[in-house]
Every structure is written in C-alpha cells, then in structure tokens.
C-alpha cells in the first residue's frame, strides 16, 4: 500500500549534545589554523601523541584520524563516562579508507606481480577504524560504519538519533571522517565536484565528532532536527537562498514556539560545499549570520561534521541550520542550538 504523507526522513525529537570536537587539515584539535592544500596531507604523529598519548604504529592514517577525532570529543567527559551506559558508535565516511586501499591495489596491479601487504588490506576494510575506536572506548553493541557520499554524516546522525529515540542506546558517539588522498584532481573527481555543483575551494580533510544523549544536565546544546528533502533539485537551485530560508524557518518553527527563548537566539546558516553562491546580504537582511566553516576544513565528504561540531562548540546561545545538497539534488538540513 502506498502512503503519500509518511513522515520518513524527518527527525524532530531534540537530542542533547554533551560534547563535540573538530579536527581539520591543520590537525589542530578544536582550533582554527592556517593550512595549504598543496602541503596536504600533514603527518599525524603530533596529533596522535597529543590525543592518544602514544603512537599507533600499525594503524593507517584514516584509523588514526578516526580515533583521534573520537577521543578528542570524549576528552570533555573522559572515557569513564561511557562505562555502564549503552553507547553506540556511528562512523560516517564518504570515501572510506582510500589511503590504504590505493597502495594495496597498486601493489596488486604491479607489473611482474607485487606483494600486497596483509596489514594494509586489513586496515583498508571500512569498519576497521570503527572497531579500533570501539576497542579503545570499550564500546560493544551498536557500532556502525555508514557511507552515503556527501550526506554520510547527516545520514549517520539521523540513524543515531533514531537509536537514541528508541531507547536502545543511551549515548551515541557520531562522527564524520574523510582524509586527503592525492591526486587533487582525482580527489575532486571522487567527491564528484564540478563548477556548477560546488564551491571553488581547496580540498581538505577532517575528523569531527558529537557525543549525544541525556548527559545529566551537562549538555552544550541540542540537535533539534535532521531533515532530508523529498525531491531532487537541479544544481542551479542548490544555492537558492529563498528556498533554503523558507525550509530553515519551517524547521525552526517546528522546533520552537513563537515566543520561546530559542527564537531570540542569534541565527546562523552553515552552508555546505554544494552551495556555490552565498548571498550574504540576503541573509543579513533576514536577520541571519553566515558561519562559513569551509575555509577551516576544506572540501571533504564529511565536512558537515566539522561545521556542525565547530559551531556547537564555539558559538554559545545560537541557533544553526546546516544545509547541504547531494550532487544528485537531494537536500539535507540539520538544525541545532547551543545553550
């Protein structure tokens, strides 16, 4: 039976955010720093030592980034915070562990027969990173690796929210990680970038995480809604400010009553990398500010995780709408607020 008015793809149950962390291509946790596309990827040794306190010798770069991002998020509450609580890990990645796959497959196709490394193959399996993070955090149960190109993080957030809402888990560690992999031209192709479907920005990388759940009143904010559009729009409409504003206002109205304190908070639009034109004056006129996070993380499939985690951490008493589009035209909105 067909159901025309089903409410799928929309989650409007507010979920508390206990902690967040963001790491971009400069590899400086929770700090904005200058970086250059031409010098990427940077060595992760310093980051690993800073976050993990010891080297991760057998892990590849993707696994290191996932673990550093996840643990940086947990620094606020400590690992012990998870003990005795049903916790889920939701790792979003658009491209997965290309960093390990490419050298492995290059060896496989080497003239005269190469010697592919078993360790490299084991590390290249997409859920290896989530396993290592789960083991460090001693989390068993729901540990999922979700991939949906540039909507990977929004999809993982939606799924985590549904598991939290059902009560099956009490806490969710939700993160997005994609790493810089040469060549730049091939990387741009992997992320499906064309001049008409994205902003002209350097390619980047990141590992950014949110700890969600009822945290005994310690929350820094809330994820108010995760909403995917019902229709596919053409690239020329990706940046249509009127439409983005209209949908954002609708979502905010559903989250706050008209006279609530939430309505009085500063409003920020966080535009994703498919938005190739930002009409700053239009948004200013409507009372919105733009939080353009992309210069700090560059384009990567899970850059929305960086933008949302950074805004939740750095901008108190505000409301955010993160907006992005899939190249095929599917829209995704994430609404969040801070205390």
């Amino acid at each position: 039976m067909s159901t025309k008015n089903n409410n799928q793809k929309k989650l409007n149950t507010s979920i508390p955010v206990i902690a967040t962390s963001y790491i971009g291509p400069a590899l400086t946790p929770n700090r904005d720093a200058i970086w250059e596309e031409g010098k990427l990827p940077l060595n992760t040794d310093g980051l690993v030592n800073e976050i993990m306190g010891q080297p991760m010798r057998r892990a590849g770069r993707f696994i290191k980034m996932v673990c550093c991002g996840g643990l940086a998020c947990l620094q606020k509450v400590s690992l012990d915070y998870l003990k005795g609580k049903k916790t889920g890990i939701f790792l979003a990645t658009g491209l997965g562990n290309v960093d390990e796959i490419m050298p492995f497959i290059t060896q496989v196709f080497k003239h005269g027969g190469g010697f592919p490394s078993p360790n490299q193959f084991a590390n290249s399996v997409s859920n290896a990173a989530a396993f290592v993070l789960a083991r460090i955090c001693e989390v068993t149960g729901t540990v999922l690796t979700i991939s949906q190109e540039e909507l990977s993080f929004e999809s993982a957030l939606w799924l985590a929210q549904s598991y939290l809402e059902s009560g099956e888990i009490e806490l969710a560690l939700v993160g997005g990680c994609d790493i810089f992999t040469p060549t730049i031209e091939e990387y741009r192709e992997r992320v499906n970038l064309t001049p008409d479907n994205s902003r002209l920005m350097p390619m980047g990388e990141g590992s950014s995480w949110l700890l969600l759940g009822n945290g005994d009143g310690e929350k820094i904010g809330d994820i108010l809604a995760v909403d995917f559009g019902d229709k596919l729009i053409p690239p020329e409409e990706f940046s249509a400010s009127e439409n983005i504003l209209s949908q954002s206002e609708k979502l905010l109205s559903a989250s706050f009553s008209k006279d609530s304190a939430g309505q009085k908070k500063i409003r920020f639009l966080l535009p994703g990398f498919r938005v190739n034109k930002i009409e700053t004056d239009f948004w200013k006129l409507k009372g919105w500010k733009i939080d353009d996070y992309l210069p700090f993380c560059g384009i990567h499939s899970t850059s929305p995780a960086f933008g949302i985690a950074r805004a939740l951490r750095e901008k108190p008493s505000a409301i955010f709408v993160h907006y992005n589009c899939h190249a095929s035209g599917k829209q995704a909105f994430v609404v969040a607020s801070t205390k």
């Binding site: 793809k9 497959i105 989390v139 990977s152 549904s162 992997r190 095929s328």
Partner: protein, 386 residues
C-alpha cells in the same frame, strides 16, 4: 533489536548458480553445484585464485550492473510493488567494494589496449561505497532514506537488522535491502595475503578446511511492516553486535556467538527447540568455523538443528552475504527443501558435528541466520515461515 512483525515481501538474487533466486535454489537442491573455478572475467589478473563467478558474456562492469538490475527487478516483481511504492521506500545497501569494479575494469582495459606502453598506476575514481545506493535512488526515483553499510562480511546482514529496526520504529515506510559484491582483484588478493584463501575447495565446518573462496553476487530483500495476502515470511527479529576482543574472529571459545544467538532467540521469544534449521555463516576458515561451531553447540547442545553453510556452493559473497543467503534460502523454502551443506567430508573433533549432508524438508517454523565478520561484527536474525 526488533521483535515486531516485519515481513519479507520480496527478494531476488544473482549468484554463480543462476540469474534468479529460484534458479540458484533449484540448482542447490538438485546438487548442480560446480566447484569454484579460475575466474574468466577480463579484469582478473591472476589465474591462481578460484572463485564462484557469475557467468556472463560481456565486460565485467556491464555484468555487475546487470546483476544489480536483475536482482532488483526480481524482488520488485515478487513484492508486486508499483512505481510509487518503490519510490516511497528506503534503500539500505551492504557492500564492501561498491563500484570499485569500474576502476579495475578501466585500468585493465587501458593496459590491454596499450600492450607496448608501461601502464600508469591504477587510479581510484569511484565515489565510495555509497555510490551503489545513489545509483538505485536515481534510477527508481526513490525519495526515502539511502544508507550504505560498509562493514565487511556483515554489511548487508546488518543492513537487514537495521532496516527491521527502522520499520518497527516507523522511521521508514519500506526497506529495499541490497547486497552487492562484484568479483574484485582487490578482495581476491587481499584474502590471499591474509592466508585465508583455500586454493582447492571451500569446506565449511570440515576438519580439513583451509580457508574461504570468494563468490560474486547481487541480491535484494524487501522488508515491510504491512503484510500482503501472499506474504508468508516474517522477519521475527534480529540482533547486530560489535565485539571488541578480536578484529578477525568472534572468539574461538564460542561464547560471543552463543550470546548473540541467545539474544536473538530471547528478543523474538522463540525457543532453541523450535529452530527448524540454521543458515550458518560457515566461511571455511579455521577460526570462523571454530567460533561459530562451538557457539552453536554451546547453545543448542545435542538438539542442534540441521546446520547449513551456503559458502561451499556459492562462495563467500562478503558484504552481500546477508541479502544473498537470505534470498536463496527463502527460494529453497519455496521449493520445500533445505539444501545440504557443500564441501564437507570429515567431522572436526573440535566441533563434534557435521553440517547437514542431505537435503531436508522446509516446513513452517523458525529459521536462524548467522553472520560473523571482520572487525568483531556479529549479526543473527530469525525468519519464520508461516
């Protein structure tokens, strides 16, 4: 975890045994099961590795697309879904390789067409595992959620359990669960490098087992919270679990396996005594079969129902295994027979049981499905034939 009434309303599969789930089932039941053979596909660069390859006259990229389309069309037809019903559904894909076949095919073609030139390094142009779901979404105009699980061997079995969870919570209208795994040099060489490859024959639960053999397949299983008049298979509930003791096995003492299956039985309120048969993961690797076999014996004891691994007949279809083995098993149930487990000759004293060696009837009742993958991943679920 699910324990509501979710129904399997359609399925389809392409395996090395046939281009539909009933074809594969009939060949299994009749014993028309050719052994794994050296791959003939033009992109395969090594002629040592035997695999269960889908037959096709054409290039491997076209074959992969044809497999996916065939499995989808078969499942939609069986479920009698209209265009609008397909569009309002959600797609959950389980795959490890995604469309990596395109890279391998284009690279080997470039080398073949330029025999005198030194080839450049292979490039990676695919957009990650999510590309398969995107392909389906665009082709069928799907407006529901698209989610891809890239979680090694449990990718599509996890997708089935998550889909059932989301249906039970009324978060999605209907689930089209897809398993897709074209035959890749990457995985053939990968498992060989891990010394997990049996160069002779895949022998699940056999004392002489020496590893797995990879199978190529695409499959689709459609889950719905609404029961149609023709639906007779209930997805009674499932459990997906991540263990952190070992990246490569579920623990050879069998404790984890036993607990995962027990959790499924408890959540579905089905007694171990009521299980008609077990569709085991049974990869043919020493550790997997040891942990799974011991776990099943620990739980079922002397009342162990018939245990069948399909991997001796269609190979290990990796991330597609959940959807593929479910689809083929249900078609076997439609034929009223559970096939024997292929590749077995000798009882392993460490396990103390033989997998089913004769075809058995497929009466109404509860069938248990188990999967254990890389990264400590475990899935089990029950499907009840009404």
């Amino acid at each position: 975890m699910t324990n509501g009434d979710i129904y399997v309303c359609g399925w389809g599969a392409v395996t090395s045994l046939g281009w539909s789930a009933p074809d594969s089932a009939r060949n299994l039941i009749a014993g028309n099961v050719p052994p794994a053979a050296v791959g003939v596909s033009s992109h395969l660069i090594n002629r040592e590795y035997k695999a269960f390859e889908v037959s096709y006259s054409g290039n491997p990229l076209d074959k992969s697309m044809a497999m996916l389309e065939s499995a989808l069309a078969e499942a939609f037809l069986r479920a009698e879904l209209s265009v609008e019903e397909i569009a309002e559904s959600s797609v959950l894909v389980g795959t490890t390789g995604g469309l990596f076949i395109r890279n391998e095919y284009e690279f080997t073609e470039a080398v073949r067409k330029n025999p005198d030139k030194e080839s450049p390094a292979i490039s990676c142009r695919n957009r990650g595992p999510g590309e398969v779901a995107d392909l389906i979404v665009n082709k069928y105009g799907i407006r529901g959620m698209a989610l891809t699980f890239s979680m090694a061997c449990v990718s599509s079995s996890h997708a089935l359990v998550v889909a059932a969870d989301l249906l039970k919570r009324k978060k999605i209208r209907r689930a089209i669960v897809v398993g897709f795994e074209p035959l890749l040099n990457m995985t053939l060489h990968g498992f060989a490098s891990l010394l997990l490859f049996d160069y002779d024959q895949c022998r699940p639960f056999c004392a002489t087992r020496a590893g797995m053999q990879i199978g190529e397949a695409a499959a689709v299983v459609i889950l719905d919270a609404e029961k149609s008049s023709s639906t007779k298979y209930k997805f009674a509930g499932g459990y997906q679990y991540n263990d952190i003791k070992s990246m490569t096995s579920a623990g050879i003492d069998g404790v984890t396996v036993s607990e995962v299956v027990q959790k499924t039985l408890t959540s579905t309120r089905v007694s171990a005594d009521d299980i008609v048969a077990i569709k085991a993961h049974g990869t043919g690797t020493r550790d997997n079969d040891l942990s799974e076999g011991r776990g099943l014996v620990k739980l079922f004891g002397e009342k162990l129902p018939p245990v069948v691994s399909l991997k001796g007949a269609i190979g290990h279809t990796l991330g597609a295994a959940g959807a593929v083995e479910t689809a083929v098993w249900l078609s076997c149930c439609e034929e009223e027979a559970i096939p024997r487990s292929f590749g077995f000759t000798q009882i392993d004293p460490e396990l103390g049981f033989a997998p089913s060696q004769i075809n058995t009837p497929a009466p109404s009742g509860a069938y248990l499905f188990t999967y254990f993958g890389f990264g400590g991943t475990c899935t089990s679920y029950l499907i009840i034939k009404e």
